[in-house]
Amino acid sequence: MDIAKQYGEGEAAVRALNSVTCEIYAGEYLSIMGPSGSGKSTLFNMIGGLDKPTEGSVFVNSVDLAQLTPRELAFLRCHTIGYIFQTFNLIAVRTALENVTLPMLFAGTNPDDANSRGRELLDLVGLGHRLHHRPSELSGGQQQRVAVARALAKSPTIILADEPTGNLDLKTGQEIIDLLRSLNEDRNVTIISATHDHKMLSVSDRIFSIRDGQLADVQVNEKVRPSASEA
């Protein structure tokens, strides 16, 4: 990856990211940190194909995101990447189960299979008893767990988590971190998260520090295993 992102044009242009070059390995648990306004979220959005770089390109599994049509991009988001947001972003009018099955329906899974897989996933995140509750009837931690289940729905190889613990209290935040860590270990899912949370950082394989739109520092966490193959 070698990207720059520029917002606006001419004199008012803001370069949120300035030639950040990085590689993210498959199966690693990566945290991106940096003060707000550093370009952290921008980098994050580029990786996830949520936004396009002004210069440079992003490769996910050696596919150049800039070359994809909107439909192919939707396919990639559907099959390769699971997203988790700071604000949970569940669909308010759908139940927990429906929230989890929705991405599977986008992928063309038949509704029965999607339902049974949705139940399994909600069981996995410990919400097997709250299948038919709407997001407004769930606590923050429970909503985030639904979001994790939803991110897993398509068995993605990458999970992108933007401040996943930012709106949660310490205990529930820890539960989400444990959940992500165990997914990373048991299913070899690549976890990429933007975070300030120290507990999150301490379980990461590597930590990118972003400052003023540049990759300022890469920390490798020794106690966690050395990384696997290249993404």
Partner: protein
């Protein structure tokens, strides 16, 4: 003496904020204003027609065509405004389902179907109410209105209403769908 209660700033502060807010949502404000303008134009033209009735401006037919055109236009403006709001307050939802793998087309489908449903229900009720009320009225006055005539009028009304609603929904829905997912998620309302 120190005051313990909050004091409102001078009216000028509220005024500058009102102006800024109109500027930011210019398109929607313009549509709202257009709606008001059309409504009042409608009202005033009717009033003027009544005054000028004796001297007669145009035929009865012209007058009716004018009536129908303005009322449909008003309807379109009103529905466009509502659809803009409906799409606008759901940018985050749109961004989210795009992240889940929804194509742009799927997003448009949601809003078009929504508009279609609302349009069908609204125009069915409206067409029935309007047609039946006047039919009863006319029959009382001794004129004849046949059932097929009533049915056709209701049919045309429903079709026009549904079409109008969908037309109003398609443009904002397509705009929302084409936004990069990140931009849609970033929007705060």
């Amino acid at each position: 003496m120190k005051s313990t209660t909050n004091v409102d700033p001078p009216l000028r502060v509220a005024w500058t904020q009102a102006i800024a807010s109109i500027r930011v949502r210019f398109l929607r404000m313009a549509i709202t204003t257009l709606g008001i303008a059309l409504g009042i134009a409608f009202f005033c033209s009717m009033q003027t027609l009544r005054i000028a009735e004796s001297t007669v401006v145009g035929s009865e037919r012209d007058r009716q065509a004018w009536l129908i055109a303005t009322s449909l236009l008003m309807c379109l403006v009103g529905v466009t405004n509502s659809m803009l709001m409906s799409v606008g307050e759901r940018f985050r939802e749109i961004g989210t389902i795009k992240c889940l793998g929804a194509s742009d087309g799927f997003v448009v489908k949601i809003f078009v179907l929504e508009a279609l449903l609302l349009g069908l229900i609204g125009s069915s009720v409206g067409a029935t109410l309007g047609t039946v009320a006047i039919a009863v009225f006319a029959t009382r006055a001794g004129e004849t209105v046949t059932l097929p005539q009533v049915a056709t009028t209701i049919g045309v009304g429903v079709a026009a209403g549904a079409l109008l609603t969908i037309t109003a929904a398609v443009v904002p829905a397509m705009q929302a769908a084409r936004m990069p997912a990140a931009a849609a998620l970033r929007v705060e309302l």
